[in-house]
């Protein structure tokens, strides 16, 4: 067993500090060490995106990142996007437009979509499809996921305009 490393990171706004083997995968840190079980494990090879989180402002598949690589990072998971009293627009939109079925891909899907809409606030359908291609869903056929994201984008833009 390798020597343990001292790790510090911010997860959903909370400071975390612990000792971990450097080979520990970030998804296991989140799920097993910190009990943040929103991000899921679907493939462990970076293909499916169920484990997607935001690290220092970028979408990252946490199943193929060592905890050592995330030392000092600012991590946001689905749990950090909204709260039961104040849902993220995307969380509302996915329900409204039936953008999920079994729900296993959903946390990664919404987390990725939240970054996509920061990268491209008013995306075309093609941009959504391309920008979400790293997240696999086996249930929905994507049609309603795309619809949900486009609807959320429209709502967020309208709210932004109203605020300006």
């Amino acid at each position: 067993m390798a020597k343990k490393m001292h790790i510090q990171m911010t997860v959903n706004g909370e400071e975390q500090e612990f000792l971990a083997e450097p080979r520990e995968l970030l998804i296991h840190t989140l799920r097993e060490r910190l009990n943040i079980t929103g991000p899921h494990i679907g493939c462990e090879t970076s293909h499916c995106g169920a484990c997607t989180v935001t690290i220092n402002g970028k979408s990252v598949k946490s199943c193929t990142m060592f905890v050592a690589q995330a030392n000092g990072a600012d991590v946001t998971t689905i749990e950090g996007l909204g709260s039961p009293d104040s849902l993220h627009v995307l969380q509302e939109a996915f329900k409204e437009h039936h953008g999920l079925q079994c729900g296993f891909c959903t946390p990664g899907m919404i987390t990725r979509a939240s970054k996509l809409l920061e990268e491209i606030p008013n995306p075309t359908e093609e941009e959504v499809r391309f920008g979400m291609a790293g997240n696999i869903c086996r249930c929905t056929g994507y049609q309603n996921i795309v619809k949900s994201i486009l609807a959320a984008a429209a709502e967020m833009s309208a709210a932004k305009e109203a605020a300006e």
Binding site: E32, G38, E44, C48, T77, L100, F104, C139, Q143, N144
Partner: protein
């Protein structure tokens, strides 16, 4: 006082059947608060992991676990030798065969379970797997089912008697040591005679390749043996929790009341989570041995390589017709590759499932089907991937057969279908292979579909494209894929459908609470279908309480009534019927309570949306909410307190959803790249409970169909190595590859189902696969192609174009 609501407003307030009710499941899933098996964490929990065979066929000379056991944090390493004294080194399969839990002397497929390591965390378990030393002696590998039936190599020595004779299998006599069963249906003699005498016969071989359901969540479990109370709790990704409880009891000897099986949220199933796997047995044993909970969750490679493949059917067909195109007979022989063990998940009396629905939507007077099951050095499984038992194979077969016949007749395939459809007035229709189709109106659906896509216009455009191609003006061809499918779902009547002797009824138990809300528990388990939403809608309409006041609970065998689970589109046809019937029992008691409260005779009140009213005096009524309270509050002569009901529903027949699909595809001849320009799907699933959810099911099923038809396969090399063990090689479409679908419907209720619903989850997959495949084949028809096998990935399409001489 509030203004009295109209009848329509009262109905709307219930969110009952027919409305696009938003899903109650979504709050937890969108906030990352789902509870899947890998989210379960119990005190002291250990982790299991498998040592798996790198070889497809080998004898095991020795297993040395010393180094693994010496690793800090390893608690146990189990091998077949440890399980043998308990009689658990083999387990029964759902198909009447038996399967090794851990390799007993030999391995029969790559990835087979050889030893089970139990350790304090998943990293230590994975390290220990590497330290287990297994010495193998390689044996000749058979990956081709036809070669298997000719081979001297004996795959299953356990199924050959000492004198070399072959004992019967679960489905009768065996012809060869690698043969599993022969299943025959229909009239062989007459069919062969009709084909021999026919004016036109089309003949071809269709290979429906091996693939995998590949839900996003893999299979797994947490076994927790409480030695103090003698109770075993087993959490897992089970599509049939009650059946799993019975199986665990039968093989472990633990009495059934001491086993609690819980299916938590399931991250997609599609058939992958129906069967019982070695991981479950080993985890249970490990928990019994160690006295603490043990978790096992397979990784993606293990999922693709070892748990529950689908298809792998070689279907040879002959279809006979008159010169005018009237079909006179159908013949099919299927060679079914089942891998090393027969672990198919079919009703006991149907070793090839409902493959005998292969006469499709057509009025075919005589037919014959034979299926031979064969052992090879591939993983076991043979589950129904998003379809009722082998129905996708059957529908693919007939819908390709029709296309080939149309070529033989030089006839338009849409017209050929039309003149052979079973007519509306022929229902209930008895098929040549023994099914009684409940209801249908195929001509109406077909005409609606063809008109919606402007079929004639498409054919004209296609003809022009062929001319342009020949003239060198374009390098793109256009394919028009047609499919008209009839499914057979909702297994099923107990008289002919059982699994391991358990009749395939299903159940619902309802408890109405005093303040007018309710909980209903069912024997099924949702894996994304939205049961908590839709079953509450059925009940809202049946018992007149708002869907939002009804909790639906599934998946806990200690609380839910016994049922056979969710697969084969059986939840709505069977458990949905049980729900309606239990609701009607509630209503019958409520009627008596209402009559008592209104001081009239039972027959003088009638149900009206959310209340019972006095006939002819609608201003005199008691709402269901008032009645619920009265059931707990009043001493009513002759009526027990409380308001509860349970129904076990044994369906009188299957249901037969149908649909008409059209796919328009452009194909780049030089790259083999396909572009789905349009996909129109008309589905008739009978009564529609929630159109939003139906549409979502159609989108998802079509996408899984696209995957299978255009690239997804479990492929082996000649050594039995799996070539598609990761998502890099195994095609799962992304948002980028998937088109938008147009959905449409007709409504032909099932006459025997209490609410007329037929089930819909699997229709789009069943109908979608032949539709995509027909589009590819159709694109090359003008250049002489009759049939090319799936999956139609770019490379294979390029090869087809090349063989046809289209690359100049």
């Amino acid at each position: 006082m509030n203004k009295e609501l109209s009848r329509e407003e009262r109905a709307d307030a219930l969110s009952g059947m027919g409305c696009k009710r938003k899903r109650v499941e979504d709050a937890r899933f969108t906030q990352g608060k789902g509870n899947y098996v890998d989210d379960i964490k119990l005190p002291g929990m250990l982790f299991g992991d498998f040592v798996r065979s790198p070889y497809a066929h080998a004898r095991i000379k020795s297993i040395n676990t010393d180094a693994a056991m010496a690793l800090d944090g390893v608690v146990a390493v189990l091998t077949a030798a440890d399980l043998a004294p308990l009689g658990l080194h083999w387990m029964p399969t759902l198909a009447g065969d038996k399967q090794m839990v851990l390799a007993d002397g030999k391995v029969l497929f790559q990835g087979q379970e050889v030893a089970y390591v139990v350790a304090k965390d998943r990293y230590i378990a994975a390290d220990a797997v590497e330290l287990v030393e297994v010495e193998y002696e390689e044996l000749d590998v058979i990956v081709d089912p036809f070669a298997s039936l000719e081979s001297d190599v004996v795959l299953r020595e356990d199924l050959v008697a000492e004198d070399g004779s072959l004992p019967d299998g679960a489905h009768g006599p065996r012809k060869h040591h690698n043969h599993i069963f022969t299943w025959e249906v229909g009239d062989k003699e007459t069919t062969e005679q009709v084909i021999g005498d026919a004016e036109v016969v089309a003949e071809d071989m269709f290979y429906y390749h091996r693939t995998h359901p590949c839900p996003l969540e893999t299979c797994g479990c947490v076994a927790s043996m409480d030695k103090v109370n003698g109770k075993l709790t087993l959490y897992g990704t089970f599509q049939a929790p009650h059946a799993i409880r019975t199986v665990v009891s039968l093989i472990s000897g633990i009495e059934e009341h001491n086993i609690r099986v819980i299916s938590p949220d399931i991250g997609g199933g599609f058939g992958n989570k129906v069967g019982a796997y070695p991981g479950y047995v080993c985890s249970v044993v490990a928990s019994i041995v160690t006295g603490v909970p043990v978790k096992w969750v397979e990784d993606r490679m293990e999922n693709l390589m070892t748990t529950a493949f689908a298809r792998d059917y070689w279907m040879k067909g002959k279809i006979a017709a008159t010169k005018e195109g009237k079909i006179t007979g159908l013949w099919c022989h299927t060679t079914a590759d089942h891998g090393g063990f027969d672990a198919c998940a079919d009703p006991t009396k149907f070793p090839a499932g409902f493959m005998n629905i292969c006469t499709g939507s057509y009025d075919i007077p005589v037919a014959y089907l034979a299926v031979d099951g064969v052992y090879t050095n591939k993983a076991p499984g043979g589950v129904s991937y998003r379809c009722s038992f082998r129905v996708t194979e059957a529908v693919y077969f007939i819908e390709r057969m029709i296309e080939v016949l149309a070529i033989e007749l030089n006839m338009d395939p849409a017209e050929l279908r039309r003149i052979n459809f079973i007519k509306k007035e022929q229902f209930p229709y008895k098929s040549a292979l023994g099914w009684e189709y409940d209801s249908g109106d195929y001509h109406t659906a077909w005409d609606k579909a063809l008109e919606a896509v402007d079929y004639k216009g498409l054919r004209a455009e296609q003809a022009q494209r062929v001319e342009d191609f020949k003239a060198g003006k374009t390098r793109s061809l256009m394919g028009i894929g047609l499919t008209f499918f009839t499914e057979i779902v909702g297994a099923g009547p107990v008289k002919n459908c059982d699994i391991l002797g358990l009749g395939m009824f299903d159940s619902c138990e309802i408890r109405i609470h005093p303040t007018g809300s309710a909980i209903a528990r069912l024997g099924t388990i949702s894996q994304g279908q939205g049961h908590a939403t839709t079953f509450a809608q059925i009940l809202a309409t049946e018992i007149g309480l708002p869907a939002d006041s009804i909790t639906i609970e599934e998946g806990d065998t200690d609380t839910a009534p016994y049922g056979l689970g969710t697969y084969g589109s059986r939840s709505t046809p069977v458990a949905g019927a049980a729900t309606a019937m239990a609701g009607r029992k509630i209503r019958a008691k409520a009627q008596m309570i209402a009559a008592y409260l209104l001081e009239v005779h039972d027959d003088d009140v009638e149900f009206d949306v959310d209340r019972f009213v006095v006939k002819g005096a609608p201003e005199k009524f008691k709402t269901m909410k008032e009645i619920a309270f009265a059931a707990y509050n009043q001493a009513i002569p002759g009526i027990e307190p409380g308001l509860e009901a349970v129904s076990y529903y044994d369906p009188p027949n299957m249901t037969y959803p149908f649909g008409a699909y059209v796919c328009v595809m452009d194909i780049d001849v030089d790259t083999g790249v396909t572009d789905i320009r349009r996909f129109y799907a008309l589905d008739d699933c009978g009564t529609r409970i929630n159109p939003m959810i139906i549409e979502g099911q159609i989108h998802g099923g079509l996408t899984e169909a696209l995957a299978v038809a255009l690239g997804q396969e479990i492929a082996y090399d000649d050594m039995g190595n799996v070539k598609t063990g990761t998502l890099m090689d195994f095609f799962l479409p992304t948002a980028w590859e998937v088109p938008n679908y147009e959905t449409d419907h007709t409504v032909t209720p099932s006459p025997h189902h209490p609410i007329g619903a037929k089930g819909v989850g699997e229709s789009p997959h069943v109908g979608g696969v032949p539709c995509f495949s027909n589009a590819v084949n159709d694109a090359f028809k003008a250049f002489g192609l009759r049939h090319t096998h799936m999956p139609h990935d770019h490379w294979r399409i390029w090869q087809t174009a090349n063989k046809l001489g289209l690359h100049g």
